[in-house]
Subunit: 250 residues, 2 copies
């Protein structure tokens, strides 16, 4: 299939799943965060689940999820430039029957997706609160993807809890420095944290990412802290677990 | 110095600090948890701090702290049998000038220690909520040390926050399955979590302990997730970091 590439776009490969993904360094490139989230999320293999990826960016997480389930995947992205890249990546991988791109504000997601209907939500949200510099350039694609200009943690949790059915699961990747807020905002919308995995850049270093699974109206006990994920060895090479996530078992 | 040993008591060594500690398998033996807490806590080296160990058991954490500071250490323990063991261990190590044993209920600690006066608190509290079996044997030494028969998490946090001065630090060891409750009870008394270290029995296994540092009236941001601590290698031998905590660098 021939897909038009625009400006500085290029096609990158995610070899674990044989996926080809359109990227643009000036607009948005998927990062390790998205790959970790796509691997951390657990989706039913069958075709009867309703799976939604919020803040979908160029669609990499939605594309990864589609390879783990036969169910429909919906992906919500606010920025038209990114939604358009995602749309073309979906075509490029022949997945237009399985993945539906919704070009919309996550806060308005319930206008497109029925409340209390979703089995699995994933989200790699903007990590940073709004700062002077993000305010100075409020329309930059990167500023919107990274800073909470259009979606706060609280709004994300409200939307997620609203979309999920009872016992539906949400999977997020975020930053440890916002961990307490994440716990509190989840509790406020009755998303019970069930599994947390901290990601450390190297052995002996503090965590710089966290992966968290919450269950809508789940019991508040039984939280599990999974084995840590360490990304690089001392020489800066990916450790085997991460290598497998990117390159597969080949 | 000759110290009387009672019943099945024996003297164990904590070689990192050249300490000798009276233990009794039927009453209470210090565990790895206490050793980890004694190493995780940070006390000023000088002699002007006020250091308090709550739920002190046979005094092992207080004894460890005394080797890291020139300041006075007070240790609070409810059970007379344990407070007595601790007292004799303090004598055995020649530390009666530095460590004061307070045989009292932690909930009444402010009758013995002035409010808002403490720089550093440590506590290895009862981990488990009260169950059928702990109720059946409510006077057993082990039941009291392990189950919240006399001190709940909430009471512990209230007492700790009451004793600490502003910006004073509390260090706890506890279980990951109660992590959410720990966060909530700390927040309720304005103890801001600052550093958390999860302890995994082996690489690739879920955490079974956590170490947490809170600061009274600290800012709620800047939480750090420290590198994980893994206790055993695949063959069940202590890994080097833990070995050093127990045996020292020898």
């Amino acid at each position: 299939m021939s897909i038009e590439l625009r400006n500085d776009e290029r096609i990158d490969q995610l070899m674990q799943y044989n996926l080809e993904i359109i990227q643009s360094p000036s607009v948005f490139s998927f990062s390790l965060d998205a790959v970790l989230l796509g691997n951390f999320a657990r989706v039913p293999h069958h075709n009867r689940a309703h799976v939604v990826d919020l803040c979908s960016g160029n669609g990499v997480v939605a594309l990864m999820l589609s390879q783990q389930t036969q169910s429909q995947v919906q992906a919500v992205e606010l920025q038209d430039r990114l939604a358009d890249m995602a749309e073309r990546s979906i075509q490029l991988n022949g997945l237009t029957d399985q993945i539906q791109m919704i070009h919309a504000d996550v806060k308005q997601a319930t206008e497109y997706i029925r409340k209390d209907s979703v089995d699995v939500i994933t989200c790699n949200p903007p990590y940073f609160t709004v700062t002077e510099s993000s305010r100075k350039n409020p329309n930059s694609h990167l500023a919107i993807a990274r800073h909470e200009l259009h979606l706060t943690l609280e709004q994300l949790m409200q939307t997620s809890a609203g979309l999920l059915k009872t016992r539906g699961k949400a999977f997020f990747v975020h930053r440890p420095e916002r961990f307490l807020e994440i716990m509190e905002t989840m509790k406020a919308v009755d998303l019970a944290p069930k599994r947390i995995r901290f990601v450390h850049p190297k052995a002996g270093r503090e965590a710089n990412m966290l992966l968290i699974e919450g269950i809508k109206q789940g019991k508040p006990d039984g939280l599990k802290i999974l084995p840590p994920l360490v990304v690089f060895d001392d020489d800066g090479h990916y450790l085997p677990e991460v290598k497998r996530m990117i390159y597969g078992d080949k």
